[in-house]
Amino acid sequence: MTQSDATMTAQAGGKRLLAGTSVPFYWAAVGVLALAGMLITDSYVQHVLILCFLWCMVAAAWDLTLGYAGIFNYAQIALFAAGAYATAMLTLKFGVPPVAAIIAATAITALLGLAIALPCLRLQGEYVALFTFAIHLAMPPLIQLAKGLGTGGTMGLMGVPPIKFFGLTFGPLNKIGWYYLALTAAAISVYVIYYVVLRSRTGRAFVALRDSANFARSLGINEFKYKLLAFVLSALVTGFAGALYAHYTSVVTPKILGNEFILLAIVMLAIGGIGRFPGAVLGAFVVTILNELLRDAGTYRLLILGILVVLTLLLLPQGLASIWERVSRRKHKARTKLKE
């Protein structure tokens, strides 16, 4: 990147935060995964990676609000569920074709994000966290109460139809298809969040507001507008991920609002490190894969996972991202040395 680019493509949080994650590097990584897709035949491995991709979207979107915009948003899984339920209800109750349903669901979730964000902007820091978490808690009972509207209550919604386009059908067994579908969705979402939004003027505003709201306002940054924007963008991606999840598993139940789900999501950010790309994304991969690797452990699985979380946080409080940064800082140093 030329010096002037570096300045002007207002990288959120400065070059340091994006060290060693240049655009070509990113697409190279995506390319490797794409190739891997051709080599992997074991459908279980495929499944796990599909989950990784979906979780990447959730984690990245969450990182956008929690890490970069500094909004304590804990309604993330609620929004994920909203996306999943929206598409499930649209396809099952109203016979909307899946692709259209997914688009609609994404939009609906974005609107929901807006609806949640509006009151949040009246609240002080931590209360945003509590408010949004309360919304998360409110979901299952509301779903049960709204059974009449076709939420399927505690039972959930079964048989969400597979996505079809260009004559391709993405059924539960079409793991290869899903692998590439999810990979594409994730690659684009993550790219948009970290390389487009966060490096744009908008991303600069998010970080500025996070670091010092007073100063940011005095420089003409519209706090209301940008906080809202951060929330909506994040909700959009999250809803998209949720919708995909619904079609992938073809089932939506309130179970996705249970403890394990949100805890895992938080653990991803914890292990990855928030507000420091590619922390959250790494976190999504590591945790999802770890969680499957630990299957053998049976009853001990979650115990071990918990211990790992605690240790990671104690040994590297900034998450894996900090290692990443150290490495790439060294690379950077090396490079500058060469120049001299």
Partner: protein, 389 residues
């Protein structure tokens, strides 16, 4: 990266692999524990007896934790595509998510969800290899009320009060029960749904006392919840009223409560259990020998039967890997097991009846569940508990 995510990678050619997706962690772990024990026991016994078609059986367990949809997808991919299991067995596989996950695989799969909507989905999705080795909640609701009515107990009046959880299983069962009751001229004075986080029963109990019913039925698939209800009910019970704690009374998690005599005199039910008689007693001994505890009434014998029924089907089919043949055999055979004679109907479930797989009605007596009714057969006498007098 994920190589070794399942237990046995070292499997000789002459073993038959079967997979068991069960909840080993999370809120359902207590049932999962029993499923695991029962399946292990069945497999052990099969292998001791020389295996199936001379091949040893090897079981892989897969934790489906909180039963969230992707876990069942994972289970299917893991146990079938990678574990190469020829048979999938479980107590309950998530009440729904298991069907789309396993249906397309064509591998024989026996579960015990006992959910009308699950059975409907099995059929609407045209699954030909998934079996529900019991009846569905609606039937049990009716059967249970008939059993209560057949107790020969003189109810002071014909009023029934019902409290049930939010699951369709609970609401479906109690609805059927209420219908049965009204059909027999009873009045349903209350049929209220409660969420799982309930701990505050005063309001509901007041309503019950107000109605003064002769029969109080609570159907919540959660031992703790049922227990808190009973506890608070006992503080000020309705005189002369019979209390039925439904299925929860027979789940493993309720065992200690029963054993400590905290719920003496309460009624309960289960879908299927080892019938009395030599086989049943042998099974109990076998279980005690293996785990030095008496088997719980629910899930233990049920899963033992599921495994053995499959083994029998394999014998008829002549090969475990010929899934179509095994499925065909399962569909056609009528298997004499611990819980009765298992014969699937055209909806791939087993209609409960004395002839097939009868439901049990218990009463807690001397810190244990005593069968009062097995199907329509009376096997014990109802004793009016002191607290109700």
């Amino acid at each position: 990266a994920i190589v070794g995510a399942t237990a046995p990678v070292t499997a000789q050619a002459d073993t038959i692999k079967i997979g068991a997706p069960i909840p080993q962690t999370g809120p359902f772990a207590s049932d999962g524990g029993v499923m695991e024990k029962a399946i292990k026991l069945a497999v052990e016994d099969l292998n001791k007896a020389g295996g199936v078609l001379g091949q040893q059986v090897e079981v892989t367990f897969f934790d489906i934790g909180d039963l969230s949809p992707d876990k069942l997808q994972a289970a299917a991919a893991n146990l079938i595509d990678r574990g190469k299991s020829d048979f999938i067995v479980t107590g309950y596989g998530g009440f729904g998510p298991d069907i789309p996950a396993f249906c397309p695989q064509g591998v024989p799969f026996i579960h015990n969800d006992a959910f009308t909507s699950v059975v409907d989905m099995m059929n609407s999705m045209g699954c030909t290899s998934i079996f529900n080795a019991s009846d569905v909640e609606a039937s049990y609701g009716k059967v249970m009320f008939d059993q209560l009515a057949a107790l020969g107990h003189q109810f002071p009046n014909k009023k029934i009060a019902i409290v049930h959880g939010p699951y369709e299983w609970e609401s479906g069962l109690t609805k059927a029960m209420a219908d049965a009751a009204t059909a027999q001229g009873w009045e349903v004075v209350m049929n209220e749904e409660v969420p799982y986080e309930s701990v505050q029963w005063q309001g509901i109990l007041s309503k019950i006392r107000e109605a003064q019913p002769a029969l109080v039925h609570i159907e919540v698939l959660d031992a703790g919840l049922t227990y808190t209800f009973l506890q608070q009910y006992f503080d000020n019970p309705v005189k002369g009223a019979v209390v039925n704690a439904g299925y929860a009374a027979s789940v493993p998690a309720f065992g200690d409560v029963v054993a400590q005599g905290k719920v003496e005199g309460v009624l309960g039910m289960t879908l299927s259990a080892q019938l009395p008689g030599p086989e049943g007693d042998a099974f109990i001994k076998r279980w005690q020998a293996a785990y030095n505890e008496t088997p719980p009434w629910s899930l233990a014998a049920q899963l033992y039967d599921e495994v053995n029924m499959w083994a029998a089907a394999v014998k008829t089919a002549g090969s475990a890997s010929d899934h179509a043949a095994v499925v065909k055999a399962l569909k056609e055979m009528s298997f004499k097991g611990l819980t009765g004679t298992l014969k699937f109907d055209d909806k791939f479930k087993i209609p409960t009846s004395d002839a097939s797989q009868p439901a049990f009605l218990f009463q807690v007596h001397d810190k244990a569940l005593k069968p009062l009714m097995i199907g329509t057969r009376k096997t014990g006498d109802f004793v009016m508990p002191d607290w109700a007098k």
